[in-house]
């Protein structure tokens, strides 16, 4: 493979080292397989979780270091321009590795009585590798491979409780819809290739300008939108999400709804901005911003209305996660209004905040499952009594998700909506504000169950899940800290600006 020499770097690592976060993750997953295969029967939960954490935090640390050292400030392209390392890829690597670290920490207790721990951790790390690679993909084929890498690992993770009918059924549904969506995506990619003669994003952009097969290209773009919508759980490709999140072990639900969604969005951001330049495609009559506007509005409304009607906590969170995908879609739907950097930066920032608050909320559900609490709102009644600190953290997650100024969720929504207004799409912001107001209803309903209602049954608190507690607390502290520390939005804007440069 020919490695092209890219621009000189600020800190001068040879180019492939720029990809270190992904490489570290890949190596960590192999080390985990190896550690597990040396002595397959005896699984040392602490060792395996520790190894995964070291790998994930290593990748996270390197990503942060690179980000601040300015690696990829200009964008480092490597492996024949198939892969790019820039501010946006490092930003998203940070998001997915943070979520993965929390999920591993939370899984340590959750897996206590489960066999096949080694497989679980290595699948998590492998899926994270795929997501980090999605952030770096600079060609449609790398994006596809990365999506498949994370999806295949995720299918197995959803079905991980293989003696639990719900888990297996969820895995199967997730797999079938995933396979269908992959087929749509890869078919779309092939149509794009057929019309432009290239798979690399910048070359696709060049080819788009010269194509005469506008109809075929349009169908291809539409199918790529479908593939992205599936990965981000956006309407109308969202049907798998409530099923998969409900059936999956709760830490896996946290992982999929936070990290996987963020990774799906980074692919969408990069592909649509770089490969399908809006002005050129609009000139051809393919107005993909319009498609995303429709998707954003429908996703916000469907997700939030459906969440409001759920009786099951996990399904409520799953639908609300669909709703949040709708908010983030504003990042694409408000492009072309002269405020591109602001809307995309705001969408990235919302994904960062969402990564912590949503992971925290699902980890609280993991705690409830660990304690043998049931699944409905009523089952959560009075959890405050036996888990006061975790309940306080959950209050923070719920109100921050709803957009009250108790955590970063308020500011990220605010910035997102005002950026949309600034771009002239005030009606996107209006729908978003309406959906947010509605979301307060079902989030506060769960808060009410946990904090106000009297418990209907006691549960076993003899064993303290320290890892799970630690993960929930870290997520809560990060959610709150992102309110005063919101100036990081500048970093997100800078990363977004690089994309448009």
């Amino acid at each position: 493979m020919v490695t092209q020499m890219a621009q000189p770097l600020v800190t001068q690592p040879s180019t492939w080292i720029a990809l270190a976060p992904v490489v570290i993750l890949a190596m960590a997953s192999f080390v985990l397989f190896l550690a597990d295969s040396i002595d397959p029967g005896e699984t040392n939960n602490g060792l395996l979780a520790g190894l995964s954490l070291v790998g994930i935090l290593g990748a996270l640390g390197v990503a942060v270091w690179y980000f601040f050292a300015g690696v990829g400030g200009e964008g480092v392209s490597l492996l024949g321009d198939q892969v790019v390392v820039d501010g946006m890829s490092l930003f998203f690597t940070f998001v997915v590795t943070s979520v993965a670290a929390l999920v591993v920490l939370g899984s340590y207790d959750y897996l206590h009585d489960q066999p096949h721990k080694g497989e679980f951790y290595s699948l998590i790390v492998l899926a994270t590798t795929g997501m980090a690679l999605m952030a770096n993909a600079n060609s449609l084929v790398v994006a596809f491979i990365a999506i498949e890498l994370s999806s295949l690992s995720s299918f197995a993770l959803v079905a991980f409780l293989k003696h639990n009918r719900g888990s297996v059924e969820a895995g199967l549904k997730y797999f079938l819809i995933g396979a269908l969506s992959s087929a749509i995506l890869v078919y779309g990619i092939s149509l794009v290739y057929a019309t432009t003669g290239s798979l690399q994003l910048d070359a696709v952009a060049a080819g788009v300008a010269e194509t005469d097969n506008v109809g075929v290209l349009g169908v291809g773009v539409l199918m790529v939108v479908g593939g992205v919508a599936y990965k981000t759980a956006s309407v109308p490709f969202h049907f798998w999400a409530p099923e998969a999140y409900e059936g999956a072990p709760a830490p896996v639900s946290a992982f999929l709804s936070s990290a996987s969604k963020a990774a799906g969005f980074v692919v969408a951001f990069r592909v649509f901005v770089e490969a399908f330049p809006l002005d050129v495609l609009t000139g051809l009559g393919i107005d993909w911003v319009l498609i995303f506007q429709v998707l954003a509005v429908v996703t916000m409304l469907v997700g939030n209305f459906a969440a409001a009607m759920q009786e099951n906590v996990k399904r409520m969170l799953a639908y609300s996660s669909v709703g949040h995908a709708g908010y983030v879609l504003i990042g694409l739907a408000a492009l072309g209004g002269g405020n591109d950097v602001a809307v995309m930066g705001a969408a990235m920032m919302h994904l960062l905040v969402y990564g912590f608050m949503n992971t925290g909320a699902f980890l609280f559900v993991a705690l409830a499952e660990y304690r043998g609490v049931g699944r409905t709102f009523e089952d959560y009644n009075g959890m405050w009594r036996q888990a006061p600190i975790a309940s306080a953290a959950m209050t923070v997650f719920l109100f921050s998700l709803a957009g009250l100024p108790i955590g970063g969720g308020f500011l990220s929504k605010y910035v997102l909506f005002t950026a949309a207004i600034g771009a002239g799409y005030w009606w996107l912001a209006a729908v978003g504000a309406l959906a947010s107001a509605l979301s307060l209803f079902y989030y506060s309903r769960l808060a009410k169950a946990i904090l106000i209602e009297d418990p209907i049954h006691e549960f076993d608190v003899s064993r303290q899940p320290m890892g799970l507690y630690a993960a929930i607390m870290i997520a809560a502290i990060m959610t709150i800290a992102l309110l005063p520390a919101f100036p990081v939005v500048d970093l997100a804007q800078a990363a977004a600006a690089a994309l448009f440069a």
Partner: protein, 510 residues
């Protein structure tokens, strides 16, 4: 840095109390709540402000500003400071919280450390509301008050607490959203002439006539629409008829110390914000709408008093009378005279102390008799002479007995409203509002006479005993403060006047 320290200390105190074992929580919470009190009294010694924090040419005490989020186009900055309007309310907050905590020792028997932790968390947020000068920072604290209040009513309240808590939460949250949208519309109308959410900057830009149109609306229409949205948002909090219906439910279900804070401080958030946003920032719209606003205020006075007259529950009587008292405040604000707005600000403090005292005294009676129904009790004056004596004193304060704080506030409001040049036919509005006092005196005396005096009779199985000392001490402290403020209103009124004069000058009034 003093304000930041004050907020931080209170937050940390909340956290400490939250983690304190149940057995020590009441005492620890009380001791820690003295820290913000000491802090605010210390700040009083160095309080140096002149003019209104939002208007040009003012000195703001303990002003502190730091860059926070450099958003384009409006930067969000950490910006706090105090002037003569906000400082008395800050003192009121820090004084009422320790007293409310002490009054909670008897009624609060479960989830104790959580209760006191939430009270202190709410205090920290309230300090933030009264000190923030950046709209965004202010809004964060404004919303942060709701969550502890929601839980305090929902967890420790009476039988219908869940209904009351959710009603409170939904009403005030929808109101916040409407207000937020109204304010943001204002910002869009200002366009490039402001670069931050600083309330002084925005106010001065509006006064300089920078408000342009937005989305097809002209500048004037935008100002009017924004004014109405913002007014609605705060009217719910105050509360003004017809958006007052959450208040009696919340008050009746809330435990005594929470009612004290709800009536004493939370309602003042609404009137304080009205003064800052509607009557200072958008004073010319307020002047145009003077008649409908005054009508709402006066109607609230009479309507609240009539409703109070019809109640059988002592706590409901006090709750409805708050609607009445807040109506006076609205009338004072819309008068745009020094005594009107100054008296309204003074009345916020006075009503905070008096209604707090009333709720506390009713709470002590409830602790002893386990009923609040006027028909169930009579003649308890013999059994609980001290409590009853203070309750009567508080009722006289409510009626506006001279030499008590309520008199000073109401007298100034009536004087100011009478002299108003902004409000057409001001004397008529004033006269109707003054009639409210007669009804107030009527229902208070009627209720007192039936419950406190006459032959002792109690239609429950409880033995009525004297209240413990820690129930009585807060009552004494409050009645002392009410008399102190009544005898010497200048303790606060001079600084209030400093901050109010510039607002009055805006309208060219006297």
């Amino acid at each position: 840095m003093l304000i930041e320290t004050l907020i931080a200390v209170t937050f940390v105190a909340a956290l400490v109390v939250f983690l304190t074992p149940e057995a020590y929580a009441p005492q620890v919470a009380f001791a820690l709540s003295l820290l913000p009190l000491a802090g605010s009294l210390f700040m009083w010694t160095g309080f140096d402000a002149s003019g209104n924090a939002l208007l040009e040419g003012s000195t703001v005490a303990f002003e502190s500003q730091a860059q926070w989020i450099a958003l384009d186009p409006y930067a969000i900055n950490w910006y706090v400071g105090l002037d003569g309007v906000s400082f008395p309310l800050l003192v009121l907050t820090t004084v009422l919280v320790p007293l409310a905590i002490m009054s909670a020792w008897t009624p609060i028997t479960e989830r104790i450390s959580q209760f006191y932790g939430l009270v202190l968390f709410m205090e920290a947020s309230l300090i933030g509301v009264f000190t923030a000068l950046d709209f965004f920072v202010w809004f964060v604290f404004w919303e942060a008050v709701l969550i502890p209040m929601y839980l305090l009513i929902g967890v420790w309240g009476g039988p219908r607490r869940k209904y009351a808590a959710i009603k409170f939460f939904v009403y005030t949250n929808v109101a916040s959203l409407v207000m937020f949208i109204g304010f943001i519309a204002l910002l869009f109308g200002l366009g490039d002439s402001v670069t931050s959410f600083g309330m002084p900057e925005i106010t001065q830009a509006i006064h300089a006539g920078e408000l342009g149109g937005f989305a097809g609306l002209s500048g004037d229409t935008l100002a009017l629409a924004a004014f109405i949205a913002i007014f609605f948002g705060f009217a719910v909090k105050v509360p003004i008829f017809p958006v007052h219906t959450w208040l009696p439910d919340a008050h009746v279900e809330a435990p005594t110390p929470v009612s004290v804070l709800l009536a004493g401080v939370l309602l003042k958030m609404g009137t304080y914000a009205l003064l800052r946003f509607n009557f200072t920032m958008l004073y010319d719209v307020a002047a145009t709408l003077a008649v409908p606003i005054a009508a709402l205020g006066v109607f609230s006075v009479i309507y609240g008093a009539m409703l109070a007259l019809a109640q059988q529950d002592l706590k409901r009587i006090v709750a409805y009378s708050s609607i009445s008292s807040m109506g006076y405040v609205i009338l004072g604000l819309v008068a745009f005279t020094v005594y009107g707005i100054g008296g309204a600000t003074f009345q916020m403090v006075a009503h905070g102390l008096i209604s707090g005292l009333m709720f506390m005294a009713v709470g002590v009676i409830y602790n002893a008799t386990h009923t609040r129904m006027v028909g169930d009790i009579s003649g308890i004056a013999d059994r609980m002479p001290i409590t009853v004596g203070i309750l009567i004193a508080a009722a006289f304060g409510y009626m506006g007995l001279p030499l008590m704080a309520g008199f000073a506030g109401e007298f100034m409001i009536f004087l100011g409203a009478f002299q108003s040049t902004v409000l057409p036919s001001a004397p008529i509005f004033t006269a109707i509002a003054m009639f409210g006092i007669v009804i107030v005196a009527g229902y208070l005396l009627f209720a007192m006479q039936r419950t406190l005096f006459g032959e002792f009779r109690l239609e429950t199985d409880y033995e009525v005993t004297r209240a413990p000392l820690h129930d009585i001490v807060p009552l004494f402290v409050l009645i002392g403060l009410i008399i102190l403020l009544g005898v010497d209103p200048d303790i606060f009124f001079t600084m209030i006047q400093d901050a109010v004069d510039p607002i009055v000058e805006l309208g060219g009034g006297a």
